[in-house]
Symmetry: C2
Subunit: 322 residues, 2 copies
């Protein structure tokens, strides 16, 4: 049996796990990314975490390789992290640099694709042929896994379901457009919308929970809590997010016919608060064949999805290469 190291590199933390061939995490470790120290320092840290984890588990001789998920634009085939705003990286030859440091084969990819791959093959999409996965967090992105194979598109650019102005919408988005799905339905977008309404003087329990400057600590989880406490504004924001998500999914489902849609990322913690609205839109706007055959689920692997996906994608790519 061989083992694989999966690494999920985020703007805040690096999570590194050792994963067996069944996609089970045997052990994992988390450290702050400290991207401000520069890419070389981050690479040293990834290498060190990986090697220590392998040694600590006593499996260092059975670790076959490392898989890494990076936020931003990645060329998985050349092993280059092309652009990452979160890490402030541009054209880092990640695979070769880490192979030098660890003497292991290293496979890299985009973090959303790794998360969705993990969920599609080892989590909520297990056994399903056509899976579309969405991550709702700081951003809102998607990836597609067809019969166990990730879809990349031209220049590996597939997955940006969160952008492009939607008719009748006006929330400003980080991408420069207004009215993007991400601006209203990502976890960060929902929080930003809440703050915007609060600054406009809307009444909400959130101003009691987060008075004055404490409003900066407001999170998407707090919106869920406020909705449960009967807060109208929080419900409005979450419902609106669900409505836009549903509207974006209707043409996507008709075009791609996924069997299962997995909703993951921090925003997925809103769970049924969000999905009830999404399902309502799908029920009224999908053609009968699709309405009957598509199901929407929340992710099942929690934070481990990225680590599992990265490790198992490395395993898959390694088996094709060798």
């Amino acid at each position: 049996m061989s083992f694989w190291i999966g690494v999920d590199v985020g703007g805040t933390n690096i999570v590194c796990g050792i994963v067996n061939e069944k996609g089970e995490v045997l052990d994992s470790v988390k450290k702050p990314t400290e991207a401000s120290l520069g890419s070389s320092s981050v690479l040293d840290k990834i290498a060190q975490m990986s090697l220590e984890l392998a040694a600590g588990s006593g499996l260092q001789n059975q670790v076959a390789g490392i898989g890494i998920g990076i936020p931003g634009l990645v060329d998985p085939w050349k092993g280059i992290a092309q652009y990452s705003a979160n890490l402030n990286w541009r054209d880092i030859p990640l695979s070769s640099e880490l192979t030098q440091r660890t003497s292991l084969p290293v496979y890299i990819d985009n973090d959303v694709r790794m998360y969705v791959y993990g969920e599609a093959v080892y989590g909520a999409g297990q056994g399903v042929d056509f899976v579309l996965g969405l991550t709702i967090g700081t951003g809102l992105s998607a990836a597609m896994v067809n019969r166990g194979q990730l879809y990349y598109g031209h220049l590996n650019l597939a997955g940006e379901i969160g952008h492009g102005p939607m008719d009748g919408e006006s929330a400003p988005c980080g991408c420069g457009f207004e009215g993007c799905l991400e601006a209203a339905a990502s976890a960060s977008g929902m929080v930003r919308e809440a703050k915007r309404y609060i600054h406009q003087g809307r009444k909400t329990i959130l101003t009691e929970w987060f008075p004055g400057e404490r409003l900066q600590y407001l999170s998407a989880a707090d919106l869920s809590k406020a909705m449960d406490a009967g807060d109208v504004l929080a419900a409005e924001i979450i419902n609106h997010a669900g409505e836009l998500l549903g509207k974006a999914l209707v043409p996507t489902i008709h075009l791609l016919s996924p069997e299962v849609i997995i909703i993951g990322g921090g925003g997925a913690n809103a769970g049924e608060r969000l999905l009830t609205t999404v399902r309502g839109i799908l029920m009224t706007r999908l053609l009968p064949d699709y309405r009957q055959h598509v199901s929407i689920r929340t992710a099942s692997l929690g934070d481990g999805a990225g680590v599992i996906g990265s490790a198992m994608q490395a395993k898959q790519r390694h088996s094709i290469m060798s």
Copy 2:
């Protein structure tokens, strides 16, 4: 060298062609479908046309198989035409029935997929890895060809880009919804919209060209002619179709990152009249990476795309099987 028969079965005509391994049509024949005579009669006709074409070309000993494109829902793997409204067919075991009649292997698929496959691999998408093709005719559908492989989705239901209500739109659609892309942007939809406006009393040159009951003969090509003649209503309808098409393509491009989008079918004859508007929407609503890397083209194989696609898809599937 082997040869393949490609058959494009439409509600009005059956076109049957003999195609070489390079995807070139050597000879073809067209006959009325006469679906009202029943499926068995249509099958007899397809078999007869195929065998006569093979014999007439003197290549009957080198014909390796038959590929057929059918409008409607098809199970290509079981060889069953599951449902076709145009032909009034339900669960016809097309492949086995035609193999019985011709002693040749028969591969069937949906007609839009065969058309797009032909264009993607032998026409406007030649040499391109990620192709999205749209056919604008009686309906408005799509198919995706990734590295030469068609995408099917769960239950082979992928491709229905034309349905689902769009915000702010209200044109009634054949599917039962209102405001679908197909209702406003298919060739038939544009004609239906023109008639609707004319019945509302809108002034247009079309009422001079098609007075009274002659309005029933109005076609999408006439709308193009009227637009060229400076007719405001015709321009409005075609521009509106282009606008909705662009709006539908924006999230599709962000999600799938096709390199080339091919617009085919009768409605594609509107050409730049339609595509200028589509491109305008894409320019203002796509993220820069996609704006720079996607191109929109009209189909290049004309009516032959369906025959070529069916024949060459049969060749591809046969080579995998044997």
